[in-house]
């Protein structure tokens, strides 16, 4: 695989991982290591006073893992900017996953506010990866204003439904000049493989790994599926046909 280029950064794996919803830090470590991922998301949260250990998660990450802080929980561009700056200061990274949701029930991105937020963060020097709806117009605009990638959803966050609208995902991939990272809603490695076969540049997976019965095996499976889909898209699949075509030769059969 060629490296995934996000702004000034390069990554050998095209599987981005989330770190939420794991049952323990040990599991987080093992699963992320098994996935082969080189970039994982984290959320920024207030320290609970009296808590002895802070950011223990950071120490639990596999060696070589890069960090992509997110702005989860923000409902406005202004809040997202504030959280992104805190993360940058603490982590020394200009990477940020911009996530501005419209409501706590559907967890759908607020696209117009996300565009505003992306503009503010880009002006402030961030390498912005915005989570957004699967809307080609929004994705084009995010690319046009300077986002390092776009991150359209496959399905609602945590739903596990997979790529519910492959037509529009292909349209986005065709029309957007920056990398397309499919985020949210993937349920199994097959879904990740499908996203990559549609031409996505990478996928981000959290719940489907963390909430699997065996997160470590599932993480490895996602890593393999992403590579499979990457290779497949570039290897040029056969067309679909409604009728059959023989794979064994028709002539030369033994006769009586």
């Amino acid at each position: 695989m060629e490296p995934l280029v996000l702004g000034q950064h390069q990554f050998g794996s095209r599987l981005l991982t989330g770190t939420g919803r794991f049952s323990s830090l040990k599991r987080t470590h093992e699963a992320l290591a098994a996935s082969g991922s080189e970039l994982c998301t984290l959320a920024v949260r207030r320290i609970d006073l009296g808590q002895t250990e802070t950011s223990a998660l950071l120490k639990a990450l596999p060696e070589g893992m890069h960090i992509l802080p997110n702005t989860a929980g923000c409902m406005t561009a202004q809040e997202a900017l504030r959280v992104a700056r805190l993360a940058r200061e603490a982590l020394d990274t200009d990477l940020v996953k911009l996530e501005i949701l419209a409501d706590p029930m559907t967890l759908y991105p607020n696209n117009p506010e996300t565009v505003r937020g992306a503009q503010m963060l880009i002006e402030d020097g961030f390498t912005v990866l915005p989570y957004c709806g699967d809307d080609p117009v929004v994705c084009r605009e995010l690319a046009a204003i300077g986002c390092a990638a776009v991150m359209p959803l496959a399905a609602p966050i945590g739903s596990g439904l997979g790529v519910v609208n492959p037509h529009v995902l292909r349209l986005i991939i065709d029309q957007v000049s920056v990398p397309v990272i499919v985020d949210a809603g993937l349920g199994s490695p097959m879904d990740a493989c499908q996203a990559m076969e549609l031409g996505a540049d990478a996928v981000l997976v959290n719940t489907a790994i963390a909430a699997a019965d065996d997160p470590v095996a599932m993480a490895k499976a996602f890593g393999l599926a992403v590579e499979a889909g990457y290779l497949s898209f570039r290897a040029g699949r056969i067309p679909k046909k409604p009728y059959a075509t023989a794979s064994s030769p028709i002539d030369g059969v033994v006769e009586g």
């Binding site: 959320a43 320290i47 006073l49 250990e53 802070t54 950011s55 200061e89």
Partner: protein
């Protein structure tokens, strides 16, 4: 002196710095700090003196997607 940290009222040594506050609170991991809505750069944590009723936000990193 009284400070507001993450929405809670606490007592801190008079005129302590941001660094001093973190030490006072036994916080030594990777964190970031806002004082009255303004980010405090890490380089400035030692030199930034706090005042009574300052509102501070101290954040760290947790699992997220």
């Amino acid at each position: 002196m009284k400070l507001w940290v993450n929405g809670q009222a606490i007592e801190a040594p008079e005129a302590c710095s941001v660094s001093g506050l973190l030490t006072h609170l036994n916080i030594d991991g990777t964190v970031a700090v806002e004082r009255n809505g303004e980010l405090v750069r890490r380089a400035d944590q030692a030199s930034t003196r706090l005042s009574v009723k300052d509102r501070l936000e101290i954040v760290h990193f947790v699992g997220g997607g």
